[in-house]
């Protein structure tokens, strides 16, 4: 079963869990399934237009999904999806 590696910044949605197994055949389906398990998390990754937000990159294994067909990238049982957001932090109060 594919899995999603949830970045530290979004683990408030998953109760702190970092790796979530998902039954899905595409990245788009995987994010929808993730949102069913942990409501609200997909809205942090996808915009209102359904596209990946511009400060987030998604990888399947070592490959950017931009090279694999975007959100329609196919998944196999052993694939790991990684969500990598730009973050800001470290200086303020």
């Amino acid at each position: 079963m594919p899995s999603i590696r949830v970045p530290s910044a979004l683990r408030t949605f998953t109760g702190g869990a970092s790796d979530i197994e998902i039954s899905a055949s595409t990245v788009r389906d995987a994010l929808a399934e993730l949102d069913k398990k942990h409501p609200g998390i997909a809205a942090k990754v996808l915009g209102n237009d359904g596209a990946v937000k511009p400060f987030i990159r998604i990888y399947v294994g070592p490959d950017d999904i931009g090279d694999l067909g975007g959100l329609d990238a196919k998944l196999t049982d052993r694939d790991e999806i990684s969500i990598i957001p730009a973050i800001a932090g470290g200086s303020g109060a």
Partner: protein, 232 residues
């Protein structure tokens, strides 16, 4: 040769970065408009209760000088115009700020002016460090727009994580200053330093429609890196 380095942000990241680069004899300019507050002290360990209310940039510069380094503090909010004024003779710029717009602004300014740069960020238990240099894909090639990027103010950060990420940023800055381009154009993503200290190293190709690269004096399209992500 002396390296002139501009550090944007004198907080939890800026402290260890300034100490490390100051000790390596970089000539530092530190920009920050903020003052020391009691809520800063647990992770901005360059300050003490005696510094409360003092401008961070001036205090951090003073601490660098007290350790034998060369630094000046500029109590001002960073902007591209401030960078134009302060950065004319700067070799390297390091972002240690807490605001996504500033991070992208620093990266864009560095790309447009052909400077090496490091963008550092810490959040919750991990962080990202990007090493930028002329001729490679830039920060905005990877992340197109800062809107809604998570911040410390929203998600918090574990104090020691900031110091660790600051140390990595300083090491990459020293490498770039010494001509080491091993990680030039790569993002080092530390997911959870409580569990794993190894970063995921994300390398990527320059983006054809990147507005920052369009203004770069040295095009990143001359030699494209392979788009891969790997563990270090």
């Amino acid at each position: 040769m002396i390296t002139r380095t501009l550090i944007v942000g004198a907080g939890g990241l800026g402290g260890p970065i300034a100490f490390a680069l100051g000790a390596a004899k970089h000539e530092l300019t530190i920009v920050d408009h903020d003052s020391v507050e009691v809520s800063n002290l647990h992770r901005q360990i360059q300050y003490t209760a005696l510094d409360l209310g003092e401008p961070k940039a001036a205090r951090l510069a003073g601490e660098v000088v007290a350790r034998g380094g060369t630094a000046r503090g500029v109590v001002q909010q960073w902007s591209p115009e401030v960078a134009d004024e302060l950065g004319a003779d700067v070799d390297l710029i390091v972002d240690a700020s807490d605001h996504p717009t500033t991070k992208f602004g620093v990266a864009d300014w560095a790309v447009a002016n052909g400077r090496t740069y490091v963008i550092a960020a810490a959040l919750r238990y991990g962080g990202n460090v990007f090493a930028g240099a002329p001729g490679v894909a830039c920060y905005r090639c990877l992340f197109e727009d800062p809107t809604d990027a998570p911040t410390c103010a929203e998600a918090g950060v574990l104090g020691p994580v900031v110091g660790a990420i600051g140390g990595v940023a300083a090491a990459l800055a020293l490498g770039l200053a010494n001509g080491d381009r091993t990680y030039a154009g790569a993002l080092l993503a530390f997911d959870d330093l409580r569990k794993l200290a190894e970063p995921r190293v994300v390398r990527f190709a320059p983006r054809r429609d990147c507005p920052a690269c369009a203004r770069a004096p040295i095009s990143p399209f001359a030699a494209q890196p392979v788009r891969v992500a790997e563990n270090a």
